[in-house]
Point group: C2
Chain length 261, copies 2
Amino acid sequence: MSKRAAESQKREPAARVRLFLEAPFEAGALVLLPPRALHHLGTVLRLAAGASLLVFNGRDGEWRARIERLSRKGGTVRLERQVRPQLEGADLRLLFAPVKRSRLDLVAEKATELGVAALGPVLTARTNAERVNLERLRHHVVGAAEQCGRLTVPGVLEPVRLEDLVSRWDAERRLLFCDEAGGAPIGEALRREAAGIDAARPPRWAVLIGPEGGFASEERAALRRLPQCLPVSLGPRLLRAETAAIAALSLWQALLGDWHR
Amino acid sequence: MSKRAAESQKREPAARVRLFLEAPFEAGALVLLPPRALHHLGTVLRLAAGASLLVFNGRDGEWRARIERLSRKGGTVRLERQVRPQLEGADLRLLFAPVKRSRLDLVAEKATELGVAALGPVLTARTNAERVNLERLRHHVVGAAEQCGRLTVPGVLEPVRLEDLVSRWDAERRLLFCDEAGGAPIGEALRREAAGIDAARPPRWAVLIGPEGGFASEERAALRRLPQCLPVSLGPRLLRAETAAIAALSLWQALLGDWHR
């Protein structure tokens, strides 16, 4: 939370409460609170009818709303006015081999803070986790989007096998392949990309992070054959998968994305 | 773990086991295993006498060693030969306002993977956590150093009040101040620094991350008055403290540190 946000929170405790709602927004509309929000708003934050909060639905910007009714069983908010227009973020995806549950939660939270448009699991030869709980991922991206001030919630993609990902690769999407077996230093590679950017045609990108056991050599070769592939290295130390994801997304945002505006 | 490391692990299960030891190293020396390693080596990894592992002490590089004796009560390894010489890392510190315990553990682990020489808590006007368990931090940095392949273990600094940090600031150390209230975009600021670097005189740096409630305005002003201070912004979304730390350290390593070699 920024200093200014913290100060405004002192003046009006509910001012920084942000909630993602699915409903379409218009001034004066009454919107049902989702069941997941009732406990948090009522019991944790002790809000009641009349409290003000910010809401967004991923399409209509950010709005100020006021609680009309709130109990453990249900509640509603009344939409007052738009306070921020909708902004389109970069078309940046995070593709990752599933890791242990607590680290996967972290990947979902951090990718959301770092502005990805979507994230999705990729099943590789050495992927340890067989099943991925997409509902759990979705829960984490919604919470992180509310907390970090985004106006959208990242999409959660269905798991895909690496061979299918490669064979159906979108010709218009660049692939930042974090290759533990080597590649150009990520800082220099992204600086070169930044120099060649066509501002009128914002690029689509995906960051790919492998499993803890690394990609198999045939997987690496198939990825590197994609003409959209930019293989990069993340330095001399072995990074855990979630560290690599956060590092690569931060560098992308700082050098190509919305951190440099 | 890299692909190559994973393959060597298939051939010789203990090859990638790495252990930090305090003792000085020389060929043929017998070194006592620290109590914290006994359970992990014996019960978790099921190693026994004769198993090979890698050891480092932060001064003498990385050595191959062999277990001579291992039980729940104690054990020893015999040092065989040095496999990597000692390397000096960058003099990069992470200074952070303490956060919740699980997130603090994460900061310690990630800062270690990202190559900091030392990390330390800073107490600010809006710091929530009063006490910091330095032993716990130390435990996490040792584990992360073993896992990520470093040849050193970061130092854990005593907590310091922000006003003391500022008044005793080392004139030769630059301060990358991640200022939520604004600054130059971090990518551009570090690119400018990289252009002006004197390779013969590697700089000392510190990254400073504030508390969840932000710095107080007088704290921000005092930091910005330091001539060594480089205030930077980390984009338009509110990042949690640990995300900001990982992002800033990754950018520093990619643009000024050992990721660009």
